[in-house]
Symmetry: C2
């Protein structure tokens, strides 16, 4: 904490931290409260997936620091980010930490706040729209629907030990709508888990860059989704949605027709 | 659709619908995009849980219609709401449908859009923050945390046939952080399901009126939560959060101390 000494000459500084969920990507999906908090920022620390247009809500004089994506060990480790937040708060005052989605949903906001509180720095949270709920919503795919799904299960497709989460194995066996975050690079492996549960024809949607001008969606079934994604060159950031509710998306209609045709042919 | 005939004399009307997620309760947790869409509303149809302060973003001349909470069969049925939306769009133009939380997460936005599209009325979705993620976030309870939880499962506590959802029974047996919406009136029954899975001491938080000035939280364990809620007179709207992540909330510390004391006494 080499910068701590500098605070001595800055007697008026009142360190505080606001963790803001920046939402799924569209800068207008930031909350009004988030916009107002940015206006009083002395420093803004932002992630790789945060739209830089949001920085315009902060004062021109505020320090803007890009810190990449800690979870991927790019640019900064989570420990380094925790320390940066405290350093900046002590030396500049109000640090706004802009995280994509919601800071306490599939992000490590808790660790950042916990570290700051160990230095007695007060913190406030302003929730954001997680891409897990926001991206399907924009595609008009409901997470629950009468006769199709009674619950929503969100799991991370990435893991620290390289294995898929045990929860993902259970989710694939459940009747819930299953949303997988950070799972696009392992989609073949994840689809295989659903296949082992006999869900070869379960509808799947993959939403790339949800809520942005670059948004794309691919709709298929468990058996075809990995191939479709390769064919359409879908990459991160992307969300996987497994569930019967995906059948309500207009792009599913030709798939349904195809399987109905096959079923009819099989009957003769 | 008795009002359809009226449209003949209103040639300039261009019916369209914007479904907006109003967020968990705090009017400042509306998105910037939602705020802008409200400004061009000719009609606003809003739910019981939507903060009426949001109506100030709509033009003064816009028609504001309170339609209660269709899911509870209060005021209007879902069918009646679907028809109202179409009627107003045809007769007034831009209908903004303000729903609490997110319109496609635990709400029946799909049915409203689907009905409107059967009349060829175009629709747009503006996602919102679901209380399922926003309320725990504001309480600094992370949904995932290393060593505590690898996933998030959201289930409704209400049902059409009076039984708990089969998904809730499975969720109680899982390692996911389980969030139950609309379950406060059946908390004893729901806690019993977790108890049957041997989770008597699993931490539980109940968040009432999350994100509003009336927000209250009660923290306990499966064995004590129903009694605590009765004692504190917690009522709807409230969210139940079952999971080890709740142990990170400051109010859980005395509970941990209590059980550790009991464990020590048992050892002698």
């Amino acid at each position: 904490m080499k910068l701590v000494a500098d605070t001595v000459r800055k007697g008026q500084i009142e360190p505080r931290i606001t963790l803001i969920g920046a939402g799924p990507g569209d800068p207008e999906l930031l909350t009004i409260k988030g916009m107002k908090a940015l206006a009083s920022a002395d420093v803004v620390l932002y992630d790789a997936l945060v739209n830089e247009a949001l920085l315009n809500y902060a004062p021109q004089a505020a320090v803007k620091v890009f810190i990449g994506k800690p979870s991927d060990d790019e640019t900064f480790s989570q420990d380094a980010v925790n320390k940066l937040i405290v350093d900046y708060a002590m030396n500049y005052g109000h640090v706004v930490r802009l995280k994509s989605g919601d800071p306490f949903f599939f992000a490590r906001g808790y660790e950042e706040i916990d570290f700051a509180e160990s230095y007695s720095i007060p913190s406030e949270i302003i929730p954001g729209i997680s891409s897990a709920t926001g991206a399907p919503s924009l595609q008009k795919i409901p997470m629950l629907h009468k006769g199709l799904s009674e619950s929503f299960w969100a799991v991370s497709g990435s893991s620290e030990n390289g294995k898929l989460s045990a929860d993902l194995l259970k989710a694939a066996a459940s009747d819930a709508t299953v949303v997988v975050l950070n799972g696009i690079t392992r989609v073949a492996e994840i689809a295989e888990v659903f296949r082992r549960n006999g869900k070869n024809r379960l509808p799947v949607a993959v939403i790339e860059n949800g809520s942005t001008p670059h948004e794309r969606i691919v709709v298929g079934v468990v058996d075809t989704i990995a191939e479709l994604i390769e064919e359409k060159r879908i990459g991160a950031p992307a969300l996987l949605v497994f569930g019967a509710v995906v059948s309500l998306h207009p792009q599913f209609q030709p798939i349904r027709d195809f399987y109905e045709l096959i079923a009819q042919e099989g009957a003769y």
